[in-house]
Structure formats: structure tokens, C-alpha cells
């Protein structure tokens, strides 16, 4: 039996690169999709709103794991073969997009109605209202829940191991099977996860500080 040493540690560290890559895929794909969904939700267009609502409901209420399976095997059934990269991109984007979309819709709707009225009365168009008045205020509302979810995503990427991605969790299991030193292995894995997530929360705090120029934030507008 091997013991848990530097090569094993480096192996796990290498696998953590996949954790990072998968998270980035979720952020980019999910972020873009979430933006579209959020604006569809607040567009005032019933069709767009209904579609976005259904989308969010569907993907918030199904486990990411099922989603990964369905895309992965579904793709195989259509004859395009098994493409884990494609499957993971689609599944993570759909999943993260639903959450981002709902978080950002909430942030947009949290801006008091008076802000819409005042800017409308000043002659702003809807796009100008979003750009100059609503979005700058929603952004700081959205930061804590957005970063909170981003941290969740880092940890949830471990599910991608099920369709063959050797990311951090999968690699840790592998190393544990070889060394049978679960405490050391999983402590190290947890530490790596922590090191990946901690900067995100730091970033959140800094962004919040920078955007909260008007502290103390207005209680009632």
C-alpha cells in the first residue's frame, strides 16, 4: 500500500485544475444565460417571463446529477456519441443560469419602485433606466447571494466526476483507495476547496465595500 506523500498531493492538486475549469464554465455559461433569464423575467413581456420562469423552475427543482446524466446519455442517443465536455458545459450552464437568473431578478426587483418612477418622470427610456439607475443599484444587492452561489458551484462541480471528469473529489477518492488514509486525504481536499472558495468571499467583501459608497444604505427610499 502506498502512503500519502508529495506525488499523491500533486495528483490531487492537478485534479483541482478541473474543479476550477468546471467552475469557470458554469460561471461563464450560467452567467450569460442568467443575465438573459433575469431580463426576461422583468421585461414585462408575458411570454418571455413565462418561459424564463418555467426554465428556472425546471432547473432549480431537478438535481444537477440527473441533468448531467440526461445530457450525457441523451447526446449519445442522438448519435453524436459521448461528449463529456459538451455535456458538462450544457448541464452546468443550465443549472447555474437558473440560479443566477433568479438571484439577479430578485436584485432588480429589490430596487424600490420610486426609482423607476423618478427616472421615468425624468424622461429616461427603459434601457436608460436599467443602465443608469436600476442595474447599478441591483449590482450591490446581488453581490452577496451571487458569490454565495458561486461558492456552491465550486463544490458542486464534484458531481461532474460521474461522467468521467477527474476533478478534486474524484481524485481524492482515488488517492484514498490507494493509501487508505482518509483523514489526511480528505483534510487536504477540504483545504484545497477552501483555498479555492476563500478568495471569492474576499472578493465579495471588497466589491461590496466599493459599491456601498452610500453607506449607511437607505432603509426606505
Amino acid at each position: 500500500m502506498r502512503s500519502f506523500g508529495t506525488p499523491e498531493f500533486l495528483f490531487m492538486l492537478g485534479a483541482a485544475r478541473w474543479t476550477v475549469a468546471l467552475s469557470l464554465i458554469a460561471y461563464l455559461g450560467g452567467g450569460a444565460l442568467g443575465l438573459v433569464l433575469a431580463f426576461m423575467r422583468v421585461s414585462g413581456n408575458r411570454l418571455a417571463n413565462g418561459f424564463a420562469r418555467a426554465w428556472i423552475l425546471l432547473f432549480q427543482c431537478t438535481p444537477l446529477l440527473m441533468l448531467l446524466f440526461l445530457v450525457f446519455f441523451g447526446l449519445a442517443l442522438t448519435g453524436y456519441g459521448q461528449n463529456a465536455y459538451f455535456a458538462v458545459t450544457v448541464a452546468l450552464s443550465c443549472y447555474a443560469g437558473a440560479y443566477f437568473g433568479e438571484i439577479w431578478r430578485g436584485a432588480i426587483e429589490a430596487v424600490p419602485q420610486g426609482q423607476w418612477q423618478a427616472s421615468a418622470a425624468l424622461g429616461f427610456t427603459r434601457v436608460e433606466q436599467f443602465r443608469h439607475v436600476i442595474v447599478p443599484q441591483s449590482m450591490r444587492i446581488a453581490i452577496p447571494p451571487t458569490v454565495g452561489f458561486m461558492v456552491q458551484v465550486v463544490k458542486n462541480t464534484s458531481l461532474a466526476s460521474i461522467i468521467g471528469f477527474q476533478e478534486l473529489t474524484q481524485a481524492s477518492q482515488f488517492v484514498n483507495n490507494l493509501t487508505f488514509q482518509p483523514i489526511s486525504v480528505y483534510l487536504v481536499a477540504a483545504a484545497i476547496y477552501f483555498i479555492l472558495c476563500f478568495p471569492l468571499t474576499l472578493l465579495s467583501r471588497r466589491l461590496e465595500k466599493r459599491l456601498h459608497v452610500d453607506r449607511p444604505s437607505p432603509v426606505a427610499a
Partner: protein
Amino acid sequence: MSIVQVQSLHKRYGSQTVLDGVSLDIAAGEVVAIIGRSGSGKSTLLRCINGLETIDGGSITVAGHAVSRAPKALRALRQDVGMVFQSFNLFPHLTARENVALPQTVVLGRGKAEAQAMAQTLLDRVGLAPRADAYPSALSGGQQQRVAIARALGLEPKVLLCDEITSALDPEMVGEVLEVVQDLAARRMTMLLVTHEMSFARRAASRVIFMHAGRVHEQGPPAEIFARPRTPEFMQFVRAISVRE
């Protein structure tokens, strides 16, 4: 020549009639106070005049613009009709100066430097030049409301609509906002003021309109109308007010 013309305006919310045939002519330079019980349609009338509410019948013309829903017409209208709200509604993420400058750059297409200079002038006019760099949360209610007035003035409106602009203020701050309104009146700004403050109506207005049940019930110069109410509804209103004051 009247600058605001309202003809048999009707507005309903569901089955409830809020405005039931309001007709009104306001000449340039007039300061009109609109009073009445809550629910009499005062605020709704103001909101119809700058297109914040759709109307169900009648017509409104302001400074040559027929009020309609067409986005272009609405924008042109709102450049000529400023509005100040009870709850100030300043943009909390911008300083006082930026609050006043932003609509000028966005809506009028003014250059940033020009808008900022204009903002500084307007803030000076409402007595807030030294607070130009403060964020709304650092300003008192009275100060916020004065910034809101300066913001509306930035678009150089021909008519200013004030919707209970002193109602959310502590009593000691009402005076400073009133002063600004009186200064504007002296500069011949046409204003429609919905208000609960009868002293405000008495002092600032050249005409008082009493609204009741969605109609203009009684109107006249403040000295006259308060001294000799003609209708029982207005008499009752004046009595209720004088007891409170």
C-alpha cells in the same frame, strides 16, 4: 394662453373611478395648489399629466404636447414637465451633483462638464452647493427634497409637478422646501402642488383647487376660497383642517 389643459379627464382603477371628468386650465406662471381628502384623485391627476398613468378618457395637453403613450412623445413631454415626489426618490448610488447632472446627460444629451456645472448652479440655487458631493443617505429629508427639485429643474421644465413634497418631512424641514418653491414661484415657474399643508397652499399658491370625488369641486384664489367656501364638502374640509391646525 394656458400651458396645461385638461379636458374631461377620466381615470379608473378596475371598477373604481378615480378621476371623473376633470377639466382644468393653467396659465404660464400660475402656482396652483391642489387640495382635497386622500382618495380624491389629486395625486392621480398629477401622475396623468406627465404620463406616469394611462388615462381612460378625455385629453391632456402640456406645453403643446398632447399626452400620449408613444415613447418619443412621452420623452418630449417629460422634458417639459418636471416632477418631484413625496419620497424624494433620489438615486442613492449617486452624489447630489450627479443626481442633478445625470438626467441632463442622458435625456438632453448635454456634455458631462456642462451638466455638472449646471448641477452646481442649481444646487446653489436651492442652497446646497456645499453638499454637492454628498450621497443622499448623508442628507436630511429637506436637503434630499431640495436636490430632487434641482434635479427636476436640470431639464429646464416649463411646468413642475409637486406631489406632496413636504408630507414626508419633519416639521422643521418643511420651511426650507417651501422657500425653494416660493423662489421658483417668484421666477414665474408654472407649478402644480398637491399638498396637505394648508399654510403651504395659502402662502405659495395663486390659485387653490379643491378636489372631491374625482372632480374639481371648487377653486379660487387662496384668500377668497378659504374665507368663503361655497360648497358643503369644502366647508367641511376647511373645518376639519382648521381643527387639526
